[in-house]
């Protein structure tokens, strides 16, 4: 099955906009929370404060919360998330921080499947040899239980 199909169907589930003929639910707009995927801030969240043009936007962590300083960043370096914050264009760091807190965005992000997958990936990459041994034992136990169930 072509890889595009599954993401389209999951998109329709998230989409709450009734007029959405194009099927997009994530937009570049003021307040959109984005994940930075390239550069020194890779792996960190930021919010779009303002849009420069069709290739780049102004983004802020805010620095206190996510470690991303206020900067212009290209869309090729970010990925849009489902989360959005209610802020005005060019919001100051203080306002942004308050808005994020009110919407509890960081907690929502941490609870999302995307964030969990990223966390699992980074955990797996940082395992020590002993941890990998423990993983192997756990996998063996799991497959033993499954095999038993199948037998029954």
């Amino acid at each position: 099955q072509p890889s595009g199909f599954s993401s389209l169907s999951s998109c329709r589930r998230i989409n709450r906009n009734k007029n959405n003929k194009m099927g997009f639910s994530r937009f570049v707009e003021v307040g959109r929370v984005v994940l930075i995927t390239y550069g020194p801030s890779a792996g960190k969240l930021a919010t779009v404060i303002d849009i420069v043009d069709q290739n780049k936007c102004l983004v802020d962590g805010p620095e206190e919360i996510t470690g991303v300083s206020r900067q212009v960043i290209s869309y090729s370096r970010i990925q849009l998330t489902d989360l959005k914050v209610n802020i005005q264009r060019n919001a100051r760091a203080k306002t942004l921080k308050a808005a994020l807190k009110e919407a509890d965005t960081m907690a929502k992000w941490e609870g999302s499947e995307w964030a969990k997958k990223l966390a699992a990936k980074s955990k797996r990459a940082s395992l020590s040899d002993f941890d990998r041994f423990k993983v192997m034992l756990a996998k063996k136990q799991k497959s033993k239980i499954i095999a038993q169930k199948i037998k029954e």
Partner: protein, 197 residues
């Protein structure tokens, strides 16, 4: 091409590779050297874009001997200062009035750019002129540069991103970029998905 003088291009109308590293805004003040006949010549101030102070001084004389009766040998530069952006935190609309040489003549142009700093807008202008019109930085003279208020913006491309128009758009055809050069792969087992919305 090294970021310095190209021996083959040393002529009065040329400029060393101007855009490497981006331009800065300099204020250069100079005057004709005082003589017995004219002990207090008027000083002229020029704001120009150059990658460094050395080129700023050079460009000062380039323009001054075109518009006033003075040149480097008969004059002196009193002061060179870099002008930093006063407000590098808000996006502004910059209008740039240029004069450039094309292959068959010289023309005036007005271009608009949205950027945080004037120098970034000027960098974008040089890149865009090179891309769209094949003009080299040496062929471009900036007549005037200014912050343009939202009401006075002319170009439709700039207009669509103004605050009043509340731009909101998806990123339809996303081509994924590896987070680092090391993680780039030349071949993939499956065709990558481009739909992330």
């Amino acid at each position: 091409v090294a970021g310095g003088l190209c021996p083959s291009s040393l002529s009065p109308a040329t400029m060393p590779h101007m855009t490497r590293g981006g331009v800065k805004l300099y204020q250069v003040v100079g005057r004709k050297a005082p003589t017995e006949a004219d002990p207090k010549p008027p000083a002229y101030r020029m704001k120009l874009f150059a990658p460094n102070e050395v080129i700023a001084r050079s460009r000062f004389w380039y323009f001054m001997h075109q518009y006033r009766n003075m040149k480097k040998t008969t004059g002196e530069i009193l002061d060179v200062n870099e002008i930093r952006e006063k407000d590098p935190r808000t996006i502004k609309n910059y209008g740039l009035w240029l004069r450039y040489d094309s292959r068959s003549g010289t023309h005036n142009m007005y271009r608009e750019y949205r950027a945080l700093k004037l120098t970034k807008a000027v960098d974008a202008m040089y890149s865009e002129m090179a891309g769209r019109h094949r003009t080299r930085p040496r062929s471009v003279q900036i007549i005037r540069s200014a912050v343009v208020a939202d009401e006075d913006v002319k170009r439709p491309n700039t207009l669509q991103f103004l605050e009043a128009n509340r731009a909101k758009f998806p990123l339809p055809h996303r081509i994924q970029r590896a987070p680092s050069k090391k993680m780039r792969s030349t071949f993939l087992a499956r065709r990558p998905s481009t739909h992330f919305n």
